[in-house]
């Protein structure tokens, strides 16, 4: 993956298992967010961006001849800073299904309840669905954004530091939610929080200067890393 002449990712070859949480760690600028964006072609929007190689999802190359809207429906994304739309909670959630042509009120109600329930925030919000989403706390906004990503029933959920801007309690809720969600979704998460990676992920990939240095079972990687650079990074000897 290149930005113009600059090669941002090299020799990436990993297999991401379904229904597990895969954490991407590494120092700033090592390519983990860039890698995450290659998985739903968010980098298409960046000028001068070029990809070599393939990203296979269920055996199909997502850089082949595919419908990009369908890809983004199958691969949802949640960002570091919660980014609710400036509209009501209900409309935030209904937005995706509406753009995919769902008009039936009862069906939309259903989707709103199910998505908010799946994102563990239905009980908190059920009585204020018509309030502005911007009136919610940061942690609630983030769970709302997760709920919004779930409305179109994706298969994969990409999370770019989803708790980076949240307090410890909201962080706990998102972490519990992620563990719960992996039953239904495959989660790939960029995190700068090592403890978070050890707490919730099944596999961890350590990125350095655009390469994956080590990719292993999380417990193994954090207890007996095979590569000296992984050990040095996770123990805080550099980075």
């Amino acid at each position: 993956m290149f930005y113009g002449d600059f090669q941002a990712l090299k020799n990436i070859n990993i297999n991401i298992p379904a229904n597990e949480i895969t954490a991407l760690i590494g120092p700033s600028g090592c390519g983990k967010s860039t890698f995450l964006k290659t998985l739903n072609r968010m980098n298409d929007l960046i000028e001068g961006c070029r990809i070599e190689g393939r990203v296979l999802m269920d055996g199909e190359d997502i850089y082949g001849n595919i419908d990009i809207n369908m890809l983004r429906k199958r691969v949802g994304m949640v960002f570091q800073k919660p980014n609710p739309f400036p509209m009501s909670i209900y409309d935030n959630i209904a937005y995706g299904p509406r753009t995919h042509g769902v008009r039936n009120k009862a069906k939309l109600d259903d989707i709103v309840e199910r998505s908010l329930t799946d994102a563990a925030i239905w009980e908190e919000l059920r009585d204020r669905l018509n309030k502005s989403a911007l009136s919610l706390s940061g942690g609630q906004q983030q769970r709302l954004c997760i709920a919004r990503a779930l409305t179109v029933e994706p298969e994969v959920l990409l999370m770019d530091e989803p708790t980076g801007a949240l307090d410890p309690i909201s962080t706990n809720k998102i972490e519990d939610l992620a563990i719960d969600l992996k039953k239904m979704y495959t989660i790939i998460m960029v995190t700068h929080n090592m403890q978070q990676a050890t707490r919730i992920s099944d596999n961890t990939a350590f990125f350095l200067l655009g390469e994956i240095i080590e990719y292993d079972n999380t417990e193994k990687l954090f207890s007996t890393p095979a590569d000296g650079r992984t050990g040095d990074y996770i123990t805080g000897r550099f980075g």
């Binding site: 207890s223 050990g231 805080g236």
Partner: protein
């Protein structure tokens, strides 16, 4: 980058060296009290055991502080958890040295003790304890493994002493009680060797990530 953490790890290392030295002293003075029938020295050894216990508490709370503050991973996590396990074995070594000293306060074994080779066994035991701690402090895998192997030598001493004591008791039935006490002392020494082996096994774990059993 991680100055405070490295300083805390150095403090942990130094404390383990100190606790190791306390254990070696305890073994040496318990056996010296036995050899010279020096009851005050034996009593001092029993007293010194409390200091080893205190050191264990001190190192334990340092380890817990490190876990809390630094949330260590990889080799840091292995070394700190190994240290936590090692001090339990070191504390037991202190107990057993005190047990030997206690026997000395009850009975004069100065006549019977020369029938067996306690001194040589003690030397071997102290070597094991010293080297197991050295192996930890210097992250020396080879040394840790040699300590584990050396346990067979110590077991050999114990078997030899037991045999000599059987010969002794069949020749001289007067000293039955002394023979039993010496056997217990030898058994305590042999157990100390086992604890040193445990320590060395934790060192192997700290370095390699796998526990040798």
């Amino acid at each position: 980058m991680r100055n405070k953490f490295d300083t805390q790890l150095d403090t942990l290392n130094n404390n383990l060296i100190i606790m190791g030295a306390m254990c070696e002293n305890a073994i040496a003075s318990a056996v010296k009290a036995l050899m010279t029938y020096n009851v005050p020295l034996a009593q001092a050894t029993i007293e010194a055991e409390k200091q080893i216990d205190e050191k264990e508490r001190e190192i334990e709370s340092l380890c817990l502080k490190l876990l809390l503050q630094q949330q260590p991973v990889a080799r840091d996590l292995r070394f700190i958890s190994a240290a936590l396990k090692m001090i339990t074995d070191m504390e037991r070594i202190g107990d057993q040295a005190a047990d030997i000293a206690e026997i000395v306060t009850f009975i004069d074994l100065s006549e019977s003790k020369n029938k067996v080779n306690i001194a040589e066994m003690t030397e071997a035991i102290i070597k094991m304890v010293t080297e197991s701690i050295d192996a930890f402090v210097n992250r020396n895998l080879g040394l840790a493994k040699s300590v584990i192997e050396y346990d067979d030598v110590v077991d050999g001493y114990f078997t030899r002493i037991k045999k000599d004591l059987i010969d002794f008791i069949s020749a001289d039935k007067q000293h039955g009680e002394a023979v039993l006490d010496i056997l217990m002392i030898a058994k305590y020494l042999e157990r100390i060797g086992d604890h040193a082996t445990n320590i060395a096994e934790w060192v192997v774990f700290a370095i390699t990530g796998t526990h040798q059993t």
